[in-house]
Each structure stands twice: as structure tokens, then as C-alpha cells.
């Protein structure tokens, strides 16, 4: 459920450049599929608002590169 929603937010953040299904099934980092830094910022903003968390950009941010890693990060952060 969480992953589904995160994949939806990924798709919204990049204006549908990749679909929800593509985000879920990706085997390469999302940035190679068209999730640019601009889309990443939209995604961060959407996640912070929806889940009431704060992303620390001073640390490791590789979790932005897949839906699985995002879900794991979010579960730990909440």
C-alpha cells in the first residue's frame, strides 16, 4: 500500500514522465528514468507534507532512487 502510494507520488512529481507501474518495477535508479533533481524536490515536498517527516539533505539521499528504498526510509523515519 505504502509503495503504491509512493510510486504514485513519483509519477506525479515527474509529470507522468514515468508511470506508477514503471516506478514500482524499475530495476535502474529512478534518476535514469527521468526523475530529475526538480522532480526529486517535488517528491520530497510531497512526502514531507503527506507523511509529516523531514528529509535531511545533508546526509545520504540515495533512498530517492527507488520506491523500495523510499518505503524503507519512510518506515524508519516515521
Amino acid at each position: 500500500m505504502l509503495k503504491e502510494r509512493l510510486a504514485e507520488l513519483v509519477a506525479e512529481s515527474c509529470d507522468g514522465e514515468i508511470s506508477k507501474a514503471e516506478a514500482l518495477e524499475a530495476t535502474v535508479p529512478l534518476s535514469y528514468l527521468g526523475v530529475t533533481s526538480l522532480a526529486q524536490m517535488r517528491l520530497i515536498d510531497a512526502i514531507e507534507r503527506e507523511y509529516g517527516v523531514e528529509v535531511d539533505l545533508g546526509g545520504d539521499i540515495s533512498f530517492l532512487d527507488s520506491v523500495d528504498a523510499l518505503a524503507a526510509w519512510l518506515s524508519a523515519a516515521r
Binding site: 533533481s37 520530497i44 515536498d45 539521499i61
Partner: protein, 434 residues
């Protein structure tokens, strides 16, 4: 003249974005017309013929819908939103839209008295057939909107011309934005951004271009424009190869070369950040863009002498930090700058900025031969000179093939500006062909 009557009037503090551009305007006056910018909108085929009365009505609707277009700069300064008024519209038969745009942009706005939008309609026709509008020329005061904000106005205008109405509720208005920025949520955003400024201002070099060039031009501010299809293709190829945006590729290359020219081991560049990452601000008609802080070279193992792919990898998190630092309260930043100056005993300001003004792009692959051949089409021109500028080194990316440097030649000679742009092209092309 057209009359307009909006829903409300009111006053509010300037938003962060308005304060930032207001400071830049004050520092650049009397050359502050520098910040004016505009758009030429061709009346879409499906909307022709469009009469002067019809198009004027559309302009009136835009001003009623977007409060930024009927907000003046009040005392202290503040937002002074008016609900009604009259906007001058110039009608020019058979005129050249580009010349009208230049003419309407050439003088600074009277911020307290003049509506922040100047409009001209280009018409054609005459005695034999009915007069119709072919182009709408819009010139904006930067206090009212930034590039992406005006894009929204242009979209609304096109919608009106095609459909006779502008559907949907207006996006968030600057008056409400100013109130949000003062709310607990707004303060949290500001605190997150200012922490990033604070961290870097203790350690970045005080300024980037710190050695007098010895060969200042008169007037000292000059702009060189590099037109290079090769840069465009090379940048696209690098973005595809390394899974990043062309904007990040360009910012990284620009930063690395500033390091080379100045000898600094870590380089701070102030990219203009759109600050439209949230759903609520994405389509707002106002000035949201502000400078962020991008630093390369301070992280271990990512010195500026590193190979370009390593620099790109280091740039990836640095760009996100720059984006977050962009949406800041200018008062916080002023305090941080003053404190850093006091503690370090020297004023700290990079005076080095980067503005990618493109809206969106489709990235495509280009083969080696195409990129090599394109280098023959490279050209360089010097379209601007003036006395004042609030920066020493400004890079503008205006479209895919045009990159300019506007420099204070007291700190970087005209010859070095030219060399810089050609080196930028060489770096990108060589990396792309590697």
C-alpha cells in the same frame, strides 16, 4: 485603457521572493530596467480574427484573476493590492512585436504608481478588411512575476483567446503566500533553508572573483552570449549518460570552470531556484524564484579537479541542497551573511550566479559526428553593456543553444569572459565525446 475590478484589495508584507528581487532592484538602480522582461504571444490560429476589444477584455480578466498584476509596491515596502483601476493598452498597427517588446522593457517601472504590466496589441488590417490583433506584447515588472509565473499568465491568455474563458480557480495569490510564510509551517521551511546557508557561509571562500582584472571596460558591465548547438547536444548526451538533468550538467560545468579560473578549491554559485516544488506554488503568478546556494569542492573526495563524472555525482545532492536553500527568508540570509562577515573579518558573498531560464525540455541523443560538426556553428556576441549590476559573474541559459555571461570586467576581463565561454563549450563537448 481598460477597466478592471477584482475581488479584493489589501496590504501584506512582501513575500520572500518579492523581498529578494526588491533588494536586487535597489542595488541595480538606476539600471533596474535590467530586471524587466516580457513575452510576445501570437494570437493562435483558432482564435482569429480577434478584435482589440476582445483581447483587451481578456487582459482585463487576467488582471482581475491574478492579484500580482494589480499589486503595487507600498511604503516600507509592502504589497499594496488594489481591487480596481485602469490599465493602459497600446494598439500598434503593423508594428514589429520584438521592437515593441524592447521599447516597453527599456524603462524601469514606477513601482509605487504604475501597474506592473505593460501591454501592447499589434494589429493588422486597415481600410479594406477588419482590423485584427495578431500579437500581444506583455512586459512584466519583476516584482509581479518571474519567468514561470508569467508562463502561467500566457497560458491563461491563450486559453481565453481560444475558449473565451479561463477555467478553474486562480492559483495561490501573493498576499496569501506572504501570510503562509509567516505561519509556523512557513517558519519551518525558512529554518531548514537557513541552516544550509549557515553551514556553508562559515567555510566558502569570501567571494569568487577577488582579483582585480586590471582591464575594466567602460561601462564595466558586459555580456557575452555564446550560441552553440554543440553545447546543447553535448549537454543532452551527458544528462542521458549520467541520469541527470541538463541543468545540473551545466551548473556543474560552470562551477568547475569558475574553480579553474579563480583557483578556489571550493566554489559557491548562487543558482536562481524556481521555488515551485510544492503543489500550492507550482502555478502561482508571482515572483517565487530566489537565489539558492550551490557549493562544490568542499566535500572530501570530490575536489574540483576530479573527473567530470565524479563532479556530477557530487553535484547531485548539492543541487538538492541548493534547491532547498532557495526558498528562504531574505532576512535570515542577511543575518547569516552579517554574522559570517563579523566572524571571518571579511564580507562573504559569492557574487557568482547561475540562472537557467528554460521552462522544460525533451532530452534526445545525438551522435558523435553531429556534435563535432555542430562546433562549426558556434558564435559569440556582446549584446549588453551598463554601469551597475548587483553581481560580478552571472550565467544565463536562455534557451538550449544560448548561454551568456554577464560580468563585471573590473573582476574578470572581457577577454577572460570570452575564454571562459569557449572553455565551457570545450569541456562539455570533450566530456560528451569521451
Amino acid at each position: 485603457m481598460i477597466s478592471f475590478a477584482g475581488r479584493r484589495s489589501g496590504t501584506a508584507p512582501l513575500t520572500w521572493g518579492q523581498r529578494a528581487i526588491w533588494q536586487a532592484i535597489l542595488r541595480t538602480a538606476p539600471d533596474d530596467h535590467y530586471f524587466n522582461f516580457g513575452r510576445v504571444v501570437e494570437v493562435p490560429r483558432g482564435a482569429r480574427p480577434a478584435s482589440v476589444a476582445h483581447v483587451s477584455r481578456g487582459i482585463g480578466l487576467l488582471v482581475e484573476r491574478h492579484e500580482a498584476l494589480r499589486t503595487l509596491v507600498g511604503p516600507e515596502p509592502c504589497q499594496d493590492l488594489r481591487d480596481r483601476g485602469e490599465l493602459p493598452i497600446r494598439v500598434a498597427a503593423d508594428a514589429d512585436p520584438a521592437s515593441l517588446l524592447a521599447e516597453l522593457s527599456a524603462t524601469a517601472f514606477d513601482y509605487a504608481e504604475e501597474w506592473p504590466l505593460r501591454v501592447a496589441l499589434v494589429t493588422t488590417g486597415g481600410p479594406l478588411r477588419e482590423e485584427e490583433v495578431t500579437h500581444v506584447v506583455l512586459v512584466f515588472c519583476h516584482m509581479a512575476a518571474d519567468g514561470l509565473g508569467t508562463e502561467q499568465v500566457v497560458r491563461d491568455l491563450r486559453l481565453f483567446l481560444l475558449r473565451g474563458a479561463i477555467p478553474g480557480d486562480p492559483p495561490r495569490q501573493p498576499l496569501d503566500l506572504a501570510r503562509w510564510q509567516e505561519s509556523p509551517d512557513g517558519r519551518r521551511q525558512a529554518a531548514g533553508a537557513s541552516a544550509l546557508w549557515e553551514r556553508e557561509y562559515g567555510r566558502i571562500p569570501p567571494t569568487m572573483f577577488d582579483r582585480p582584472s586590471g582591464v575594466a571596460e567602460q561601462p564595466p558591465i558586459r555580456r557575452a552570449v555564446l550560441t552553440s548547438p554543440a553545447v546543447h547536444m553535448a549537454t543532452q548526451r551527458l544528462a542521458l549518460r549520467y541520469g541527470t538533468s541538463t541543468s545540473t550538467v551545466l551548473l556543474t560545468a560552470v562551477t568547475a570552470l569558475v574553480g579553474e579560473v579563480t583557483g578556489h578549491e571550493s566554489v559557491a554559485v548562487l543558482p536562481i531556484v524556481s521555488n515551485r516544488f510544492g503543489r500550492d506554488t507550482r502555478t502561482a503568478v508571482t515572483t517565487l524564484s530566489q537565489e539558492g546556494l550551490f557549493v562544490l569542492g568542499s566535500a572530501p573526495r570530490a575536489g574540483l579537479g576530479s573527473a567530470f563524472p565524479d563532479l556530477l555525482a557530487a553535484a547531485r545532492p548539492a543541487v538538492l541542497r541548493a534547491y532547498r536553500s532557495g526558498y528562504h527568508d531574505p532576512d535570515d540570509r542577511e543575518r547569516i551573511v552579517a554574522e559570517a562577515g563579523r566572524e571571518r573579518g571579511v564580507p562573504v558573498h559569492p557574487y557568482c550566479c547561475f540562472n537557467d531560464m528554460r521552462f522544460a525540455e525533451r532530452v534526445a541523443e545525438h551522435d558523435d559526428e553531429l556534435i563535432r560538426r555542430a562546433r562549426a556553428e558556434t558564435s559569440l556576441s556582446w549584446p549588453l553593456s551598463q554601469n551597475e549590476l548587483n553581481c560580478r559573474f552571472c550565467v544565463h541559459v536562455s534557451d538550449a543553444t544560448r548561454i551568456s555571461v554577464t560580468a563585471d570586467t573590473r573582476w574578470l576581463s572581457a577577454a577572460d569572459v570570452e575564454r571562459y565561454l569557449l572553455d565551457l563549450e570545450r569541456l562539455l563537448v570533450e566530456e560528451a565525446l569521451r
